[in-house]
Structure formats: C-alpha cells, structure tokens
C-alpha cells in the first residue's frame, strides 16, 4: 500500500461504520446468495457477527500504520478462521460480497480511490490471515545461529 492509500482507508472508516449495520446485512445476504455452501461456516445468529465486523474494521483502520501490531493481531484472527473451516477461495468469495456491499450501501461516497485503497488493505489482511492459518514451517536454520 502507498501512504496515500493508508490515509484513505483511515479517513473512510467512519463513513463505513456509520452504515455498518446495513453493510454487514448486505454483505451476508450477498455472500449466502452467491455461495450458499458457506452458510454452514457461520453461526445461525448473525447479530453478534455484525458487532465483530465493526470492531475488526475499526482495528484495521487504527493499526494499519503500525505494522507489527497489525500483523500479529490479523495472523491470530487467521489462525482462528482455520478452525471455522475457512479456505483460500472463501476469501475471494467474501471479497466479492463485501465490496458489492460497500458499493451498494455507500453509493457515490465509495469513490474508485477509496475502493482501490480498501482492496489493497483487504489483500494484505487476507494474506496475513492465511499466513496465520498456515502450519508453521520449522524456523529456517541459519548460519548465525550455528554457534
């Protein structure tokens, strides 16, 4: 991401959170319409997920400039998602539903620049989640550690 994109992600978070109920509603509706097989990965009651979703979004915006903290938290989130049965292609399905929800709910406020910045953020978040979810390879040995 560029510094400008990070700034855009931060500045647009408030707009999104003001509409977070609608965004999450549209997101889950889209997701389960397009990919009904994913419904079983989520709890029956989606209400508590709405709050979680808002919290995560807020966290991303707050920490995206602080790479170490951001990385650790997102990787932990990813490790949890493995337990939910999440796989790589699910992240792509979720991306489609989420960005459709942003566009639908936020209308003209959702500019191409904001869209691009959030896509870049989403890429980083999902790759970090998958890194967090992948089995840890044994730490590569190094010559330095040899003595």
């Amino acid at each position: 991401m560029t510094p400008q994109q990070i700034a855009l992600v931060r500045s647009s978070t408030d707009q999104i959170l003001r509409e977070s109920a609608r965004v999450t509603a549209v997101f889950y509706r889209r997701l389960f319409t397009d990919s009904p097989e994913l419904r079983s990965l989520f709890p029956d009651d989606l209400a508590q997920l709405q709050q979680k979703f808002a919290d995560e979004l807020r966290f991303i915006a707050d920490t995206i400039g602080d790479f170490a903290r951001f990385t650790e938290r997102i990787k932990t989130l990813g490790a949890r998602h493995v337990g939910y049965g999440a796989r790589a292609r699910h992240y792509q399905l979720a991306r489609r539903a989420l960005f459709a929800a942003f566009t639908e709910v936020l209308g003209p406020q959702w500019t191409p620049e904001v869209d691009g910045a959030w896509h870049a953020a989403y890429d980083i978040v999902t790759e970090l989640m998958m890194l967090g979810g992948a089995p840890k390879p044994p730490a590569p040995p190094s010559i330095r550690s040899h003595r």
């Binding site: 790759e127 970090l128 992948a134 089995p135 330095r144 003595r147």
Partner: protein, 816 residues
C-alpha cells in the same frame, strides 16, 4: 525493519494452490501434482509449502532436487531415498529397487509418503524408472515442479496425467496486486506509488526477479525507509535483467566469498561443518545476510545451498574450465577423506570427477553403468562404460558398451565391442544375425522362437516369448539380455498367426509402451512392424501401410538388416493391395537374413495385382517348396494359402500336407477352406468364409466369399452367387480401399477363367494388347481372343468399361 535485508519472503498469492494440492493428496485415486511455470515464479516454494502443509496433516514428507549435475549419474537425484552406502549394493539393482520400495512403505505407514521433486524434468532415466516402480506400488505421492508445461516430464507421470491421476498446476507470474501485497508484507510497511510501479515494471511479477531487485536496491542504498515509508532515494536500476543483477551482486563479492559461492554452484548442497573447514565463519554469515546462501535441515545435518538455482547457473557459466575442474577435484577429495559415508556420496564423487576430468574411479563408474543398464538408460550406460574403458580393459564394461551401442542402433560399433569383450554373449549373436545380417554358428533365443513360429509351434512360441519377458523383469542382472520388447513383438506375431488378433494387439501395445518407457529406440520399429502386420491381417491396409512407413522411417537412422528386409516386404504388400505402385527401394539382392514368408508373399502380391497371377502362384509354390524342405511348415502354409486365395487349386494338396503341424484357429480355418474347395462344397466354403470373418481376417473373408460365389454360379444358382458376392463386397469395403483379383474382379453370368482374369486386370490397368502379350508370353492373337471372351462374359463392349468394372480407371501403375 529498516535494519538488514529482506531475506525471508512471505508466501503470498498462492494459498489457493496449496489448498488444491491438499485436496488432491487426500484423494487416493490421484498420485501426483505437477507444478509448471517459467523460472522464478515460485514453483519450488509452492512445493515446499505443500510439503509443510502435508507434514502438519500428519504425513511423512521428503524433498529432493534434480539438477543438471545429478543427471550425470544414475539415481543421484533420489539418493535421499536410497539405503545408506554401507548397506547399498549398486551391483544388485533389482534388490536395490526392492529395498527402496520397502523403505518407502515403512515411512508411508497407512498413508502415503509425500515426495517433493524439484525440477522433475531433469531427472535421469534410472531415477525415472525407480519413480515409476514406486508409484506403481501405491505408497508414494509426488509433488513435482517442472520448468515448462512441455518439458520432459517422466513417463510415469505423463501416463498418469493421461489417466486423470495427476493434477497439473500452471504457475504464472504474480499479479500486480499480489506484488503490492508481497512488498508491503516483506518490507513491513507502505511503499511510495512510484516505488511500487518501478518494481512492478522491472519484475513483471516474477518473484525471483522482484527479490533480486529489492535486495540489490537495499544493499546499494537505493531503496530506503524514511518515516515508515519505503521509497527510492534516487532512480533505481530497475531495467536490469535478472541475470545482470545476479552477476553484479557476485562481482561485488570479496575473493573468499566468491570462492564459497563458486564451490556451492558446482557441488551444492554442502554440509555446514564441512564448508566451515573451507571457509571463514564470518564469510558464511555475510553471504547469508546478503541473501546469496541459505541453510537447510536435511537428515539431521545442516546443508548449505545457494538461494536459487539461477545463481548457480550464472556462476558456473562464468567459471573458467580449469578453475571449475580444480574446485570439483578438491571437493571430491575432501569428501573421500571424510570417508564418503553419506547416502549417494560415492555417486556424487563419481559425478564430480566425471564433470572435471571426463572420468572417475572405474569401479564406481562400472557400478553406475550397471544401474543405468538395469533401467535401460542406454545413453548413460554408453557414456559411463566408455569412461571405464578409458581407464582400463574391462570386459564387463565392454559388454555394457556393446549392448548400449546395439540398443542405440550402432550395430557395427557394437559388434567390435562384442568381439573384443564378450564374443559368446547372446546379444552378439542377435546383433550379428539380425542387425548386421551375418551368419553366426551359435543359437540365440530370438532365432529359436522364430523357428518355432515357422514350424507352426505357435502357442509354444508365444508362451516361451512371454517367459523371456517375465525372466527379464524378475532378473537382478539384466546384462546380456535383450530388451523384452523384442520378445513381446515375437509373442504378438505368434498369436497373430494363430488367428488371435485381439491378444496379438494387446501384446503389441505392451511392446510399444515398454519400448517407449525405456526409450529403446532400436526396439521401436519392431513394434511398428508387428502393429502393421496386425492391421494387414485385419485388412486395414492403409493403417498397415502407415505403420510400415513409420517403421521404415525409424530404421533409416540405424539400418537393421533383418527388420529392414521384413518391413520393406510388408510395405510392398500394403502398396500392392491398395493397387499403388510398389515402393521405390527393394531389399532385393541382399542375402536373406531370416527366412520369413512375408518376403516371397510381397513379390507374389506385386505380380498378382499387376495381373500376373500365374507368375505369382508359381513364385508362391517355389517358396513353399523351399520352406517345406526346411521344415518351416507354417511358412509354407502362409504361402500356399495365398495361392489358394488367388484361385490356384494345385495348392490344396501341399497346403493340407503342411497344415497338419500348425497350431491355432487360423490354421483350422485354412484347412477347412482347402477341404471345402477340394470337395466343391459351397456351404463349406461359405461357412469358412464366415469363420475368417469371425477371426477378424476381413480380406481373406472377402476372397473366400468370392470363391463361394464362383462355386455357386458354376452350380447354376445365380441368386445364391449374387448374395455371396454381396458379402464379399461388404467385407472388401471394410478394407480401406484394398483390392484383390479374387474379391475385386467383376463377374458376369459366367465366371472368368484364371487366364482371362489376368488379361482383364492388365487391360483394365491400361496395358495395350501387345504389352499384355509380352508380359504373359502369349501371342497377340490369343490375347485378343481372351479379351473378346472377357467382354462377352462381363457384358461390356470396350476397355473404358472394363476399367470401370475393375474400378481401376485411375490406377497409377509403374511397370518395371
């Protein structure tokens, strides 16, 4: 993050592929995944990540690399699978393969051992054979990388891919958004838009290139972090090609460090402890920090390698020949001093010495040559055996070389080695008699089998041929034994002669796949020959001609005496039956290396199709007499039965006499045919025409139905004659444009006599009356009389109509 270079790059943009591999691995009906793609896209990394994921899932995993260096010595690439040198006996390849299989089973447990193979297309032939052997056993799952989709993937994987047992993943360069994410995660923070753009433009998503660019730019201070943002301090050297980048990085190294990477380029992997005897600790740490070398854990030992094969490639290219020679030799000596006790060490040392000097310890080379011979890697066998002989006179190496030369089609060179080193080897007799066409006193199995076939002991021959194949696959030492393809071909020929075309075809296909798998070039035309014969038997004359032509094309490179003779004859028969001019080259004039009926048959069919039926029949009788005198009754039967098909009733008696000793359904049908014709038994001839049809011999069936029609017509039952004639035509139409004088000639209310048929065929082919008279040694007046009778019997008035009736208006025929 501002300190130090970005060495360990996260694995980005490929997670879906890892999931896919995990799914394939969980499916017992799939055996392998092949990851293909250009260099530097991250194939090896994907394979490694898949292994990590498989291991986390509780499976045993192992990683091996095939390299140009390992390809120089058989099995080196799979050394990690081999038993330790103390228990490994390279002179017993069969036992070696078995012990590897057991080791894989032990490691796999109830699941499968997951084996990563980097650059599988560089695997040597023996390793390929071992891989096929292990995959067949079902306790191995392979995740292989290969440079390009079209690269030389081992046959075992190729065949499984066709059978849907292999998943192929084509890896391309990363997309731009992947590159952005990767840079962000690697550098640990944002980059300016122009920095991202410059790196994207220069690397085009090639991960290795991107890595080299970033490391270089970090090292020379071009790419810097200011206030948490990565940016280029001044214009980057972004347009540099990857090879230039690597070269410039290596050029900047100190003398000591450069000598370390040079040693690794030639001899990697090298144990860390061993390397430390040669290099300073500080230099190794420095090289690791520069991202040029890395350490891997392998079998409780830490091994140092260059970070990417590209580095080795660039380095070895720029190394002067003498320098690399001294590096290789010094390292071989170091390993020897340590006792060469690790798996594959003896092979490695042989490989280094071979590269350095073109030779190595002759005992090791001999072992390596024997292993290569065991898996029929004849190119490698030749190279290694020659290297042994360069050292010393060694009869075993000489025999290996002779066999390799014969298999590669260098029959004369092979004979020189046989004469020198193994004058009594069975392979020598085979080479002399069949490939070179020279007489030999000693017997060989192939001649024995062919004699059995010629004498009608067809089932015996087929069983003995199969036994030879079995013996070969069970055998621990295959030295001196010809490749089993040749016996499968003979088995197919024997089965075909019994009329069992179905099983003949199976044996032929088996022969072909064994020849292809072993890259047994000199066995390939044998397979095409027998496949051509099977087509010919079934009346698929066009397919037969194509197979024969392919065999001839293969033979051009290494003129095998016997086979060239046989295939030329087979090709000629195909051409004759399709009424095409005979092939330009004739095998005539050479000493006949092998009595085979196809040679006189070819001459007879050429004459018969040109209208000289009397001459054809005479030739067949002469050849049959020679065969009978030589006790080759099955050969005599093949010749006399074709005479019978051409309408020659004098063939009946000798045919029945010779048939008594020939096995099989085809012989039984021929006997029935001869007896029914002798007795003028219309129903008998008709039934046995059906029988030939059941046996798949369509062209013979067409002829015999025609003969039944003739009999019926002479008997006055025109309606039955027409019905039988229609059957003959129907069979003929299944024969890809084949034509015979018996089934193809038109008939009127009264059948043509044999002489009239000859004259009619010649006239229909465009010969003038005078030419016909000359060819058949008749008076012009007599020919005119025959023509007159022919017109009357067929109800036609001129030669053009005659041509139409024979379907030969467009015959192109070159008369000799």
């Amino acid at each position: 993050m501002a300190t130090g270079l970005a060495l360990r790059w996260p694995f980005v943009g490929r997670r879906e592929q890892v999931d896919l591999v995990a799914d394939v691995l969980g499916d017992r009906s799939r055996d392998a995944v092949i990851v293909t793609g250009p260099g530097g896209v991250g194939k090896t990394r994907l394979v490694e990540e898949c292994l990590v994921s498989a291991e986390a899932g509780g499976q045993a995993v192992m990683m091996v690399n095939a390299t140009d260096c390992s390809a120089a010595v058989p099995l080196l690439a799979l050394a990690a699978l081999l038993p330790s040198p103390s228990t490994m006996d390279l002179t017993q390849p069969h036992a070696l393969f078995d012990s590897v299989r057991q080791a894989v089973r032990d490691r796999a447990g109830s699941s499968r051992l997951v084996l990563g193979i980097d650059d599988v297309d560089k695997l040597d032939a023996t390793s390929r054979a071992l891989l096929a052997f292990l995959l067949d056993d079902g306790h191995l799952f392979v995740i292989a990388s290969s440079r390009q989709p079209g690269a030389d993937v081992p046959d075992a994987l190729r065949a499984r891919r066709r059978a849907g047992r292999v998943e192929e993943i084509r890896l391309g360069d990363l997309r731009r958004d992947n590159v952005e994410t990767l840079l962000h995660l690697t550098l640990g923070g944002p980059l300016t838009a122009d920095a991202i753009h410059a790196l994207w433009l220069a690397s085009q998503g090639n991960v290795l290139h991107l890595r080299e660019l970033v490391l270089q730019a970090q090292a020379d201070g071009t790419l810097v972090e200011i206030n948490g943002v990565w940016r280029f301090a001044h214009a980057p050297t972004a347009s540099a090609a990857i090879v230039d980048l690597v070269e410039s990085r290596i050029r900047g190294l100190s003398e000591q460090r450069r000598s370390v990477v040079q040693l690794l380029a030639l001899c990697e992997p090298i144990g860390l402890d061993l390397l430390l005897q040669h290099a300073d600790y500080a230099d190794l740490v420095g090289l690791e920090a520069q991202g040029l070398i890395r350490v891997q854990e392998s079998e409780r030992r830490q091994e140092v390698t260059l970070v990417h094969p590209l580095h080795a490639q660039v380095l070895t290219k720029s190394l002067p020949r003498l320098r690399s020679r001294s590096i290789l030799l010094a390292h071989a000596e170091r390993i020897e001093k340590l006792g060469a006790h690790r798996r594959g060490d003896p092979l490695l040392i042989a490989s280094w010495r071979l590269q350095a000097t073109g030779t190595a310890d002759p005992d090791l080379l001999l072992q390596a040559a024997s292993i290569a011979r065991y898996s029929y890697d004849m190119k490698q066998t030749r190279r290694l055996a020659e290297a042994v002989l360069h050292h010393r006179t060694d009869h075993r190496a000489g025999l290996l070389l002779a066999e390799a030369l014969a298999a590669l089609g260098h029959f004369e060179d092979a004979e020189r080695q046989y004469a020198l080193h193994a004058p009594d080897a069975p392979g020598r007799a085979h080479n002399l008699r069949h490939a070179l066409g020279r007489p030999v006193p000693t017997a060989d199995l192939e001649t024995e089998l062919r004699t059995l076939i010629a004498r009608g002991r067809l089932e015996d021959a087929a069983a003995k041929a199969q036994a030879a194949v079995d013996r070969y696959s069970r055998s621990g030492d295959r030295l001196g034994q010809p490749h089993p393809t040749i016996y499968l071909v003979i088995k197919a020929e024997a089965l075909l002669d019994t009329g069992d075309a179905w099983n003949a075809e199976l044996a032929a296909q088996q022969a072909l796949s064994s020849a292809v798998a072993a890259e047994a070039v000199s066995a390939m035309p044998w397979c095409e020959w027998v496949i051509g014969r099977i087509h010919l038997y079934a009346g698929r004359v066009h397919a037969a001609e194509i197979a024969m032509r392919q065999a001839l094309a293969h033979l051009e490179g290494y003129p095998h005496h016997t086979l060239t003779h046989l295939v030329s004859a087979g090709h000629s028969i195909c051409r004759s039956l399709r009424r095409q001019p005979p092939p330009l080259t004739h095998p005539a004039g050479e000493q006949e290396p092998l009595a085979h009926p196809i040679v006189p048959l070819a001459a007879a069919w050429q004459a018969a199709q040109a209208g000289q039926i009397t001459g054809a029949v005479r030739g067949l009788h002469e050849a049959a007499r020679v065969a009978e005198a030589d006790h080759r009754c099955a050969d005599a039967v093949a010749l006399l039965h074709d005479a019978l098909r051409l309408g020659d009733s004098t063939a009946i008696d000798p045919l029945l006499r010779n048939l008594s000793d020939v096995d099989g359904s085809l012989a039984a049908a021929r006997q029935w045919h001869a007896e029914s014709l002798r007795d003028k038994n219309i129903k008998g001839v008709t039934d046995c025409a059906e029988r030939f049809g059941d046996l798949g011999a369509n062209l013979i069936a067409a002829d015999v139905f025609s003969q039944a029609a003739d009999l019926a017509r002479r008997d006055g039952s025109a309606r039955a004659a027409n019905a039988l004639r229609a059957k003959a035509t129907a069979f003929l139409q299944n024969c890809e444009g084949a034509w015979t004088p018996t089934a193809g000639a038109p008939i009127g209310p009264t059948p043509l006599s044999a002489r009239e048929r000859e004259v009619a065929i010649l006239a229909a082919g465009g010969a003038s009356t005078k030419q016909i008279a000359e060819q058949l040694v008749l008076a012009v007046r007599t020919v005119e009389n025959h023509l007159h009778n022919i017109y009357l019997k067929l109800g036609i008035t001129n030669r053009a109509e005659l041509g139409t009736a024979f379907g030969t208006t467009a015959i192109e025929r070159t008369q000799e």
